[in-house]
């Protein structure tokens, strides 16, 4: 309807010099050309290195080989890093979602002042550099008594330095939850805000206790926001560098750090490119996979409602 009105009014008055779709392409061209030149093309070149061979002098050329991938899959050290990355990413997105629910509920349903304060404090870390936030966690989680957490625990009577999480996977999980929490809270709050309040009221009026109304109505209807949040947090954690580098140490080696080591320490570009390919595959896989799941869920619901 809209398009036809626009065209009908447009044609007699202004004789278009270009057909509209062509003008559209023309106006899109600068942005597309920029992205193609500096993102798509460089990424393809980099990822193609993963199947090429690096000579002694460092030149990268034919023959084609899968040896970098082979090493990545069969070397126990490399496989360990892949597993650590996946484990940390899964744990981070799970903990972030648990922490995000009450915050998102407070934003969507809380008293105006509390909702506003929550919103401000959730967004604030998003505009503070990851380096600074992770530095904060270095201070909080420090393994000796000069770490904030250990200092506080000692003050209230736990022995000297009871918490030793720094330079473990758990330190990465804690700091990553903090870094990516806003990206879980915001889609969740948006999802919760779209739920029709009368559904909840009806459930309560018909005698459902609050927890039941939450489990049967609020929770299922917030799944789109939850899935969006889980996808973003999972793929960004799997691709992160700063946090694992600063708080992970050798026991929390993740793909991003391994990639950087291949470039700056081993100068092994094909290996770095293979790691990059795995990271891109994880990110794309998470995004495409969830989209597919959501599509299937919607289709299933449509079938069910037709069957009724």
């Amino acid at each position: 309807m809209t398009a036809s009105v626009l065209q009908a009014t447009d044609m007699p008055t202004r004789r278009a010099v270009l057909p509209k779709w062509l003008a559209g392409i023309a106006i899109l061209l600068p942005a597309l050309a920029f992205l193609f030149t500096f993102l798509v093309l460089p990424s393809i070149i980099l990822l193609s290195y993963s199947v090429l061979t690096q000579s002694e002098s460092g030149d990268i050329s034919l023959p084609l080989t899968l040896s970098s991938y082979q090493r990545l899959v069969s070397g126990p050290a490399y496989r360990h890093v892949v597993m650590t990355t996946l484990r940390v990413s899964v744990l981070t997105s799970l903990f972030a979602s648990l922490l995000a629910y009450p915050l998102a509920m407070a934003i969507a349903y809380g008293k105006p002042l509390f909702s506003r304060i929550t919103m401000i404090l959730v967004v604030l870390p998003m505009v503070v550099s990851v380096v600074v936030r992770t530095y904060g966690w270095q201070l909080v989680l420090g393994n000796s008594n000069t770490g904030v957490l250990n200092w506080l625990l000692q003050l209230i009577g736990f022995g000297p330095a009871p918490v030793k999480v720094m330079f473990t996977e758990w330190a990465i999980v804690i700091a990553s939850v903090h870094v990516f929490l806003p990206l879980m809270v915001l889609p969740l709050a948006a999802s919760l805000g779209r739920i029709n309040p009368s559904l909840n009221e009806a459930a309560r009026m018909l005698g459902a206790p609050a927890w039941r109304a939450f489990l049967r109505i609020t929770l299922p209807l917030s799944v789109p926001g939850l899935l969006a949040g889980l996808t973003i947090v999972f793929s960004l954690t799997a691709a992160s560098y700063v946090t694992p580098q600063m708080v992970g140490g050798n026991r929390g080696l993740m793909l991003g750090v391994l990639l950087e080591q291949q470039i700056n320490t081993s100068f092994d570009w094909p290996m770095a490119a293979a790691i990059a390919s795995v990271m891109v595959a994880i990110a794309l896989g998470a995004n495409v996979g969830v989209e597919w799941l959501v599509g299937r869920r919607a289709a299933a619901r449509l079938r069910r409602s037709r069957a009724r």
Partner: protein
Amino acid sequence: MAARLSGGGGALTYFLAAAGLIFIVSPLVVVVALSFSEASIATYPPVGFTTAWYQRVIVDDEFRQAFLTSVTLALASTVASFVLGLPAAYALNRWEVPGARTIETILLSPFILPILITGLALLQFMALLRMRDALTNLFIGHVLITLPYLVRTVTASLKQVDRSLEEAALTLGASPWRVFWRVTAPQITPGIAAGCLFAFMVSFDDFPISFWLSNAENMPLPIYLQNSMTKVFDPSIATMSSFTIMTGILAVIGLEKLVGLRRAMSV
């Protein structure tokens, strides 16, 4: 929206949310508190109260240079993203462009691709082209990460515009150009300003792009900070970090004033 958290469940939600807020602010508070410590090493507990670190950091040439580099980069990349992103998003949302969905996916692809890899790919590409000017390379890299924010914000703002106003203006004989400037633009300006501010902060805070593309002469603030953390162990690191936290606070106030945080974040 009316408050709908009540009873025991409501109290529990407030309690858990408050605990979550403490988790969110604690690493930031810890940094700011340390920046006033009189001790000569950056450990807890802080000792006494002094503004000496601030006085020292504020005249530190390297810190000022890094801050300036970051602000310049952020400004330039936001402007460039605006110039590239606004027309693109407008064409996608208002004109019948073939393959609009695919084009939108491409425009937003920097969101999905790991930024660390985007930066590395660009580094290698620039080396192949023999482009050795770090500032130019940084600029291009930062446009890559700010552009999708502009495209997304402009799209979101355009979707909120009442289309019937645009159609009415067209029917009454206004040219499409005039319709854009007199009807569409005033309605999308606050949203786009908020988007620009957010894009500015994305560039200002970036680490993974600058990590690959910066050099000793052109070092944005986050890179400079991370470098310093491995060499300097006094509270001046906390002080420099506090400056970036304050910049973040200013940005949040700006977003809240422009369109309100909830609209800026589409919540």
